[in-house]
């Protein structure tokens, strides 16, 4: 009970005090004051209206209406609150769904981030047994395809001169009609063309269809078909199997024209497994060794320890040579040995030692060796490779054979023949774009015209739409129900994250409707498949709860334990039919070999309208927005190609001086390549590492009918590709077009490292010689205080010399002493002792696949700028992948390095920004305040890594023609032009009001600002993810106060996407975090460490593993050799005056958080 104090009587005399405000408030003076003064102006209002007061009030309100109130207006929008909030939905909180992206040979298991019902980011599904959460560029970029304003937005009826819109039901009626017609004839006259797919539901639906319409024709077409590996394995073992490589168990790998880290299927899985075998924690660790024999310079080739250039047509002899050496050392393969020595007859003697030593190394690693052959090689190569793998004891160790789908398909050539014979009444094209990518000699467009009815399902209205009668809109995989099998055979669902934006149809529905099945909804079809799969997995007798298992399947994104069981295989005895092959003559000058390869970005052309991929530089060539006609330097010289684009040639040691030029603004020669009467025209390009007398062209460009992004990008190499010679063809002629030049848009203009230790490399032997070699380079090897081991003094840490300014994230407490006392008396305190972020990139694991670049672009709303802007050097990628050549121009060694904002502790950008727009936060991040930025660009000038990106235009407002660069009369890009017609500033279309912006903006990450022009931007280390993780941890911690985000809770977009796990991000305060440990690693170094920028991003030096017995063995990597020549010193010896320090293998963690925390008492 509240005690009420007794009333205190007022004193009769003396001064009167008031005891409470209430008491004062009772006085008449106060009341009067209140009435008069409060509320202000109220008394005036009660006055009768006078002319004067009316004027006063009205003018005041007009003023307010003019200035004040406009700011108070809310945007007009229709708010539709949930009548009932869906269960588990929290506005602004992302939801993750497991799904998968179907590929030609399998599926990529994914975890898709959905924000308020719209998918915005794709990640790998870490829980999947064959995934580490890493992805590839095509999965990452698929978000952009979903929100592509150029995609097909409706069902069309196409006639000769018009395209009319029809309803979905009208479109399904056409399918029903086809099905009814087929029913009358048992499918006679019905042809169905599909793409490769691993979907068990599709296999089932096609089987049903075939059962119903036995006379219907099933055809498959993939311009770049991975199926040859399955066919090869099936032929070699006489049973339907496909190889599944376990690269992580392989210690010696030989890849024959097989770009398993790039262009082959399931590269993310291969990269993960390959990198696992490549990672080393100390110099005594074992490490895999990669031999590559290839014609073009691929991602795999740049990672090779030993690389042999060979035209693709000469791969079979090389492989046969290797086979004969292997079979001579492993008994029991006599028949194969004789066959392979016949095939290797034309193998040049000069390379014999290379192959012999390679074979010896493979045999030495019996049981841990693997031979791979690429999809562009003939069947015989695949058969041979399987035989070699058996001989090397690889089966069960480094390769497993899994059962393969044996649905019988006709080829597109068969289809063309049927079409031409007029037997096809209805052609159903279920996806794909054959009118564009079918072999040129089949003339698919003309053949299709002979069909009675052509119905096609397509994501874009493209070349095939033009030859079809009906165009059916295809749903994006993120809008579809479906399923697939990953390469290990695990069943994964394709789950829609969003209702089809344009009411698209799935392939499954199309096929089911054509088959006239009772069930046509893809959801039902997939569920039915799942039921039977689950039954067979759990066994018929075992009862299971279908609903629960289905839920688990969708939730996990895969069906546990559904991986295929390896098949025990036995080689069939070699026979003439199996190994029959006429080895083509080696290409020679004037009789060039034309090589068609899948493009790294746009694949076979299916991703041609994806801006992220178009602007993603080729991992080797670093060109964007187009394909090139690549030749080797020797061939270029022989052809007298005017190589005025020095971007890749300059700086390497053995370069012929005639190839050099400084006219970087002048374009490359434009050339025409003719083969068998077919031709195409494009820009020439000298590619170091390319085989001589080979002309390499990427497929997928030069699309005729495509959206605004892919329009005018590159040339169409399909024009010269025939059914007989899909991957390489002999007898090409190259003709230089006089006076025509093209300017190639590269993101890296200079290919050599100039002897600078930007990427530090050693061979495994070098590393053993000097364990901390990584910190014994450059100027820092001379300075006792830089990047070297911190010297602990008695009182505290004297890590590095004090900077001029107080360290941005640390300060000294005065607890122990006064601030003027000796430094050692003071205690260093970090501004945040909970989190200090850091990143380490292992250059040994990074293969250069570029998945990180697209992941960053997707996560951070990084705009694309277009070809003209790339030429001007204005690309916006926050994370770039630097590629350096070293050694000669013909056989260079290549290194790659992801480079982004290094989040320097002593950030040079921060002190020069006049407006404080870039500052350090207490957790060690260098952050940008976009609102403060006025765009002086000084920060960029002062950044030694040039990691900052400036919005020279409003890139988000760019309208079209991304792949066009204004050229002058000579065909090279006119520097003089401003290209501003594409960015009209306030005079341009306000995209915010345009209908397509409504689609585009759905794909943006709502947690990241979309930057306007005039603002500098750069890598933020995904600060939005950091903050989200911190908030989540705070919520979780509650009163416990444990707000430190635990290791592994989250990571940056680049690190998450990296299949090689080369990028590691984490908290440096936590001594147990992976990043803290890696920073203490022997190989850890800072790029340009001597500048004392103290980057929070450090690198682990790259290790190569050459075989000393090889003819091209090298003691030092070529970059190291360049360094030693330039600096006249070796990082593997006591360098300069640096011997007396750096003896311990401790971290150069100077100032870094973990160290300091450890030192505090």
């Amino acid at each position: 009970m509240k005690t009420i104090p007794p009333q205190c009587p007022e004193p009769e005399v003396g001064p009167k005090y008031w005891r409470s405000l209430d008491q004062v408030a009772e006085t008449p003076e106060f009341r009067n004051w209140v009435e008069k003064e409060f509320p202000a102006g109220a008394s005036e209002l009660s006055d009768p209206v006078s002319r004067r007061s009316f004027m006063k009030l009205m003018s005041a309100s007009f003023l307010l209406a003019g200035f004040g109130l406009t700011g108070c207006r809310r945007p007009e929008e229709n708010i539709l609150p949930f009548g009932k909030q869906p269960e588990g939905y929290i506005h602004g909180k992302p939801v993750f769904y497991a799904s998968s992206r179907p590929t030609k040979s399998g599926a990529v298991p994914l975890l898709v981030k959905s924000m308020d019902g719209r998918p915005i980011k794709v990640e790998g599904n870490k829980q999947h047994p064959d995934s580490n959460g890493g992805t590839d560029i095509h999965s990452q970029s698929s978000i952009l395809d979903l929100y592509d304003p150029d995609r097909s937005m409706g069902y069309r009826k196409v006639s000769k001169d018009s395209v009319g819109t029809i309803t979905r039901s009208a479109a399904t009626d056409v399918l029903t009609e086809i099905s009814a017609d087929a029913a009358k004839t048992q499918g006679e006259g019905l042809a169905i063309l599909v793409q490769r797919s691993s979907s068990p539901t599709r296999i089932r639906v096609l089987a049903d269809l075939k059962k119903k319409f036995p006379k219907a024709g099933l055809f498959v077409h993939e311009p770049v078909d991975p199926q040859v590996a399955t066919i090869g394995a099936s032929a070699a073992f006489g049973t339907s199997v496909r190889p599944y490589y376990k690269l992580d168990s392989a210690k010696a790998i030989a890849a024959f024209d097989c770009d398993f880290l790039g262009g082959e299927e399931d590269s993310a899985v291969s990269i993960r497994r390959f990198a696992k075998g490549r990672k080393t924690s100390s110099a005594s660790d074992e490490m895999n060794r990669l031999y590559v024999v290839e014609g073009i310079m691929t991602v795999t080739g740049i990672n090779a320890d030993h690389r042999l250039r060979s035209a693709p047509s000469q791969i079979v002899p090389a492989l046969a040579k290797l086979a004969s050496v292997v079979f001579s050392q492993v008994s029991g393969f006599g028949a194969f040995a004789s066959a392979s020595s016949a095939l290797s007859a034309s193998f040049p003697a000069a390379n014999e030692k290379w192959v012999t030593e390679c074979a010896a190394d493979l045999v030495a690693h019996k049981g841990a060796a693997l031979v791979l052959v690429g999809q562009g090689q003939p069947l015989v190569a695949h058969v041979l490779a399987n035989a070699i793998n058996v001989a090397l004891g690889a089966v069960g160790q480094t390769v497993e054979y899994l059962p393969a789908d044996d649905t019988a398909f006709g080829s597109i050539a068969d289809l063309a023949q049927q079409l031409n014979s007029g037997k096809v009444a209805s052609l159903v094209i279920a996806g794909g774009n054959p009118a564009y990518d079918a072999p040129a000699d089949l003339d698919f467009a003309a053949a299709a015209a002979k069909a009675g009815k052509v119905v096609r399902l397509g994501y874009y209205e493209d070349e095939t739409t033009k030859v079809s009668g009906w165009h059916l809109t295809q749903a994006h995989y993120l809008e579809s129900w479906g399923d697939g099998r990953t390469s290990d055979g695990t069943l994964v669902p394709v789950q829609p994250l969003i209702a089809p934006l344009f009411d698209g149809m799935t392939e499954l529905e199309l096929l089911a409707r054509v088959a006239g099945l009772d069930t046509v909804r893809s959801y039902d079809l997939v569920r039915d498949t799942f039921r039977s799969e689950a039954r067979s997995l759990f066994g018929i007798t075992v009862e299971f709860n279908l609903e629960e298992e289905w839920k688990r399947f969708l939730h996990d994104g895969f069906m546990a334990n559904s991986a295929a069981k390896p098949v025990a295989v036995r080689l069939v005895a070699p026979n003439a039919a199996l190994l029959a092959y006429n080895v083509p003559a080696a290409p020679a000058e004037g009789r060039f070999e034309l090589v068609f390869h899948r493009d790294n970005s746009v694949d076979d052309g299916r991703f041609a309208n994806n801006g992220w991929l178009q602007e993603l530089p080729d991992p080797v060539g670093k060109y964007t927005w187009e394909n090139v006609i690549a030749v080797s330097a020797t061939t270029a010289k022989a052809l007298k190609l005017k190589i005025t684009d020095p971007k890749n040639q300059r700086g390497t040691e053995n370069v012929d001086h005639t190839l050099k030029s400084n006219e970087s603004t002048v374009g490359n020669d434009v050339v025409t390549v003719t083969i068998g009467g077919r031709e195409f025209t494009g820009p020439a390009w000298v590619q170091p590492g390319l085989a001589d007398n080979v002309i390499a062209v990427a497929l997928g460009y030069g699309r005729q009918i495509v959206g605004r992004v892919g329009r005018h990008a590159g040339f169409n190499a399909y024009l010269a590709r025939t059914w007989a010679a899909p991957y390489f063809a002999a007898g090409a002629v190259l003709k230089i077009l006089d006076g025509k030049f093209a300017h190639i848009a590269t993101t890296q203009e200079h290919g050599a490292m100039e002897g600078r230790p930007i990427v530090r490399e050693a061979t495994l032997a070098n590393w053993k010689k000097k364990e901390d070699f990584a910190r014994n380079w450059d100027i820092e090897s001379h300075g006792a205080f830089i990047t070297k081991t911190p010297v602990s003094t008695a009182g505290g840490v004297e890590a590095r010399p004090a900077g001029i300014y107080q360290h941005p994230y640390e300060h000294f407490s005065s607890e122990k002493g006064n601030l003027t006392g000796p430094r050692s008396d003071r205690r260093q305190i970090l501004k945040s002792e909970i989190h200090q972020w850091g990143m380490v990139v292992d250059l040994s694991s990074c293969v250069g696949c570029s998945a990180c670049m697209v992941a960053c672009q997707s996560e951070n709303n990084v705009p694309i700028v277009g070809k003209d802007q790339v030429i001007k050097g204005r690309e916006m990628h926050w994370l770039r992948l630097d590629r350096y050549y070293a050694g000669g121009i013909e056989d260079p060694q290549v290194v790659t390095q992801p480079m982004m904002c290094q989040h320097c502790e002593n950030a040079p950008c921060e002190s020069v920004c006049p407006v404080n727009a870039t500052v350090h936060d207490e957790e060690g991040l260098n952050v940008m305040a976009y609102n403060r930025c006025i765009g002086t660009r000084y920060c960029s000038n002062n950044c030694p890594y040039k990691a900052r990106r400036f919005n020279f235009f409003d890139y988000n407002k760019r309208e079209n023609d991304y792949a066009v660069a204004k050229t002058d009369a000579r065909g090279s890009v006119s520097w003089f032009s401003t290209d501003a017609s594409l960015y009209k500033g306030p005079f341009g279309v306000d995209k915010n009001k345009s209908a397509e912006w409504e689609i585009i903006k759905l794909g943006k990450n709502p947690n990241v600002t979309v930057r306007m022009r005039g603002v500098m931007e750069k890598c933020t280390m995904c600060v939005q993810r950091i903050e989200e993780a911190k908030i989540n941890q705070k919520v979780k911690a509650g009163p416990s106060g444990d707000v430190q985000v635990p290791e592994g809770t989250f990571t940056t977009a680049c690190a998450q996407a990296c299949p090689a796990e080369a990028i590691v991000f984490g908290n440096l305060i936590d001594p147990e975090s992976a990043v803290s440990k890696l920073r203490k690693h022997q190989r850890n170094y800072e790029v340009l460490g001597f500048l004392e920028t103290r980057p929070r991003v450090t690198y682990l030096a790259r290790i190569r593993n050459p075989n000393p017995k090889m003819p091209d063995a090298y003691e030092l990597s070529f970059t190291t050799k360049e360094y030693e020549t330039k600096y006249e010193a070796s990082p593997f010896e006591g360098h300069g005056h640096g011997t007396e320090h750096a003896e311990t293998g401790e971290a150069p963690i100077h100032g870094a958080a973990a160290e300091m925390k450890g030192e505090q008492h």
Partner: protein, 490 residues
């Protein structure tokens, strides 16, 4: 008074061989000086003035259009990129600021050093300074990505806003804001104070009411009283004292834009003195470029004499030698300092030409070798021609060389900025810069703006400090045979 015949000199002058060359030739009377100089601003404009003005004003309009285009569309209309994020914008800024140095040096430093020859050139040199600062000031403002914020209080101008965010006081760009604005303000005051006696004269000579009113307004009631003179001279001396350190500080601070950074080629301690010497060098170059035509067009040969030109040539020779020394010392230090990145920059980005030095150092020609060698020839070689008296006295020759100096100094800034940026630490960043037509027209337009302002100055104000020139004539010297109150001419 004119009727009074001059009386014979009472005092014997020094012998002819000891007589200094007079600053005003031909023994011109004081009235001639007033008439000749004030006459330019009074009455009808000369025949050449209108065409010159129309062309310049048109050019100024073009510059305004270019800037409007730049601001409305984006910095991308210029040729800038990554890594060359500054190019012509800052080159032009430093170029114009450098030109702005001669005026204050001539007015203030030479005033304090009692160099009387300054009087006939200081007014126009100061005007030139002001106009150059105007031209210079435009570039750093419009080169920002978001101009509207650059001018907003709280971003660059320290302003106690509610978020407690101040500008970054460690940034040399902010120092620029203070340095240039201080320099501009003091230069304007100095120029204006020096103008007051002449404004009084103009007011007294004015024929129309409007002119009388405006000259009178700005003359501050100048009556030529002793007290006015006394105050005026004190104020002038104080301002000269204030302006003198600014001559050194402004360009030192502008040089910090580069020296404070860590880019090889920028990160150099020699920059402050080297920039100041270069600024004076370029400033005198521009003064000569303007004054040589001016003196003949306005018939001022007796006031701006060949001796003036000769003296300015000597200043150019002196500062040109300093600049040349700095170039070579910079190069030496790049080698001696042992920093491979810096040496690479000097050799491979600048010096290596395709003919001599490239082959000598066994490196590819530097992409911008022509810019480097243009600078070296214009700034290091040509000034040394001024060792020859004969060349110094040929007006045409001096004028041509002054143009070379201007070109050379523009290229000096271009070299420092673009050749350092385009190839720095990491070869993967390397790129090239080429200007667009907007770059070029904006730069040309800045010359037009400069000329417009100068032509207007000529049209309305006395281009030479009349009172000061009178003060250094023999007639003004009471001890001179021609001087003293001898009646008659003044």
């Amino acid at each position: 008074m004119a009727s009074v015949a001059p009386t014979a000199p009472k005092v014997q002058g020094p012998p002819a061989e000891l007589e200094r060359e007079p600053l005003v030739l031909n023994n011109r009377p004081l009235s001639w000086i007033s008439d000749q100089i004030a006459g330019i601003a009074e009455g009808k404009a000369a025949k050449w003035w209108w065409p010159a003005f129309i062309v310049s004003a048109g050019g100024t309009l073009m510059m305004a259009t270019m800037i409007a285009y730049l601001i409305s569309t984006g910095i991308g209309v210029w040729g800038l990129n990554q890594p060359v994020a500054w190019a012509w914008d800052i080159t032009n800024f430093v170029f114009w600021i450098g030109i702005g140095h001669a005026g204050t040096l001539i007015s203030a430093v030479l005033f304090l050093l009692r160099q009387k020859w300054r009087t006939s050139i200081n007014r126009s040199a100061e005007a030139m300074t002001l106009f150059a600062v105007v031209c210079a000031g435009i570039f750093p403002v419009v080169h920002t990505g978001r101009v509207w914020f650059a001018l907003y209080p709280g971003y660059l101008i320290p302003f106690p806003n509610s978020n407690g965010i101040w500008p970054q006081f460690r940034s040399p760009l902010l120092w620029d804001v203070f340095a240039v604005s201080t320099y501009g303000t003091v230069s304007l005051l100095f120029w204006y104070v020096g103008l007051i006696p002449d404004l009084g004269l103009m007011r007294d000579r004015a024929k129309t009411k409007v002119k009388k009113f405006f000259y009178g307004l700005f003359a501050f009631g100048w009556s030529g009283a002793n007290r006015h003179w006394s105050n005026y001279e004190k104020a002038y001396l104080i301002l000269a004292g204030l302006a003198t350190p600014l001559v050194l500080s402004v360009h030192s601070i502008v040089s910090f834009d580069f020296a404070v950074s860590q880019l090889p080629g920028w990160h150099t301690t020699i920059f402050p003195p080297y920039f100041v010497a270069g600024a004076i060098f370029s400033g005198f170059g521009m003064v000569l470029t303007l004054l040589i035509p001016l003196r003949s067009l306005c018939k001022l040969e007796d006031i701006i004499t060949k001796r003036h030109i000769d003296l300015m040539c000597k200043v150019i020779l002196g500062t040109g030698s300093m600049v040349g020394y700095a170039y070579i010392m910079e190069f030496f230090i790049a080698w001696y300092g042992g920093n491979p990145y810096e040496l690479d920059l000097f050799i491979r980005n600048r010096v290596a030409d395709p003919f001599i030095f490239g082959p000598l150092f066994h490196v590819d020609p530097a992409p911008y070798w022509w810019a480097y060698w243009t600078m070296m020839i214009c700034n290091v070689f040509t000034p040394h021609l001024f060792w020859f008296k004969k060349l110094r006295s040929s007006m045409i020759f001096v004028w041509i060389i002054s143009i070379f100096v201007n070109i050379g100094m523009w290229f000096e800034r271009f070299n420092i900025i673009v050749t350092s940026l385009h190839r720095d630490f990491m070869p993967s960043n390397w790129g090239m810069f080429s200007p667009t037509w907007v770059d070029i027209l904006t730069f040309v337009g800045s010359f037009a703006l400069f000329m417009t302002l100068f032509l207007l100055f000529m049209k309305f104000l006395p281009v030479i400090a009349i009172s000061e020139v009178k003060g250094v004539t023999p007639q003004a010297d009471p001890h001179h045979p021609l001087g003293g109150a001898k009646g008659g001419q003044h």
